[in-house]
Symmetry: none
Subunit: 229 residues, 2 copies
DNA sequence: GAGACTTGTCACAAATGTGTCACATTAAAT
DNA sequence: ATTTAATGTGACACATTTGTGACAAGTCTC
């Protein structure tokens, strides 16, 4: 669904938020200080960052500016968290480009609502949401997939799965990662859901179904070039 | 790039918005009341107007009507800024030509996204008040819709819904977007209103009703070519 | 004020998507 | 070659989403 990075030095807070997010099927990352936050953000490119302003090592504003200065991390949505709730600070955060601002102490419910709100705005129109590769075209704005010019009807789950596979084409996606990213299963629950969906995807891809390769005991991988030729 | 006129009586708000716009390289104009707004709009012909509805001298509705009545200013895109809460009837009636709504209080980032969205839409879809496509004709001035030459009676809500669907024909319109653009619901409120109106529209479109396609758990889409043949 | 519209909500029906299971098949390990 | 574990596959039940008709509140017209 969406990946969210929680940046806060208090572990209790992180866990509280993480629990709530996971229950709503988000993929959760955590960072305890500013430097770690920037490092993880650059590596994982989450969809949204919950950023506490009071941080050791590098404070929230510094993190913010770093992220906005970097082309890769620049489009990531950011919700500011802070203990202080002054108006000028709010304006400061927002005018810096933050997507929203939540004051501590906050109710998890409120935070969830803000998160959903921000994601629904940001997520649907990311630039460069179209992946093309000769045979196929994946349009994340339109939520459509074309194979050899023809549109292929996919359900939401199938689409999400295909997005993940194609966006890291030629790279193994581990079962656990897929389950976490698409279904939000955090523990490696014993489930055959993934297999079933892979099967359905292959079916819909027809003759190109074999592009989804099985890496036994590891996961699946989408091959950008058709190896069967 | 693009010129944007901000119409709001509160200077703080204007400045906050202006700052954000300038950072993204837009040309910014400002007006503090309705009369000034109309004057500047006519003279400068901005690409987009951010229009607060509560204004001294001449309120937002008046400004809106003036602008839409004037041939020169008529094609300017308009984003309404409204107080949170239910949209009253006047808005419903007039909102037909507005390109989007944003409810106060809003975050600048959100506003920026909406602005980009509207501008890109307007550019790709030169805002002709009449849309034709063989079978059907949509007249936004007269608020009339013709199907195969025959006029079809639509209520204002149905008409607005159809406008949005047809103007982005062959494109999925997500439930949330539709609810926001037609009803002004900012949060993805749980409601069946949309479904009901879709049903009514399909009914009135008769044999062409199936052109409104359901994309399960995503939204609806109007198909410009009749796929049932 | 009566009557015709319009519109949002509700309850229920229909349609569709999704996860699990049992069993078949395949690949790896010994 | 045999065993073992992982994956493929079709069927099925359940959950979710959408379609639909009815209704009540609110508007508008006359």
């Amino acid at each position: 669904m969406a990946t969210i990075l929680i940046v806060d030095d208090e572990q209790d807070i992180r866990e509280l938020i993480a629990m709530n997010l996971q229950r709503e099927a988000y993929d959760v990352l955590e960072a305890a200080d500013g430097l770690e936050a920037v490092a993880i953000a650059k590596k994982e490119l989450p969809d949204l960052i919950l950023l506490d302003l009071m941080l050791p090592e590098k404070d929230g504003y510094g993190v913010f500016q770093d992220l906005k200065a970097n082309k890769k991390t620049q489009p990531i949505a950011i919700i500011m968290l802070t203990a202080r709730g002054k108006l000028d600070e709010r304006i400061m955060g927002l005018s810096l480009g933050a997507d929203d601002y939540v004051c501590k102490p906050f109710s998890p419910k409120e935070l969830m609502l803000r998160i959903k709100n921000v994601l629904s705005r940001v997520q649907t129109h990311p630039a460069g949401a179209i992946t093309q590769n000769g045979d196929f075209k994946l349009d994340k704005n339109e939520l459509k997939f074309y194979l050899c010019g023809e549109e292929i009807d996919l359900t939401i789950t199938e689409f999400k799965l295909l997005v993940v596979l194609i966006e890291s084409a030629d790279t193994v996606q581990e079962r656990g990662d897929l389950l976490r990213r698409i279904w939000g299963y955090n523990d490696m629950i014993q489930t055959r859901t993934l297999d079933t969906h892979i099967k359905r995807l292959r079916e819909k891809l027809g003759s190109h179904g074999n592009r989804i390769e099985t890496l036994r005991s590891v996961g699946y991988q989408f091959n950008s070039s058709d190896s069967s030729n």
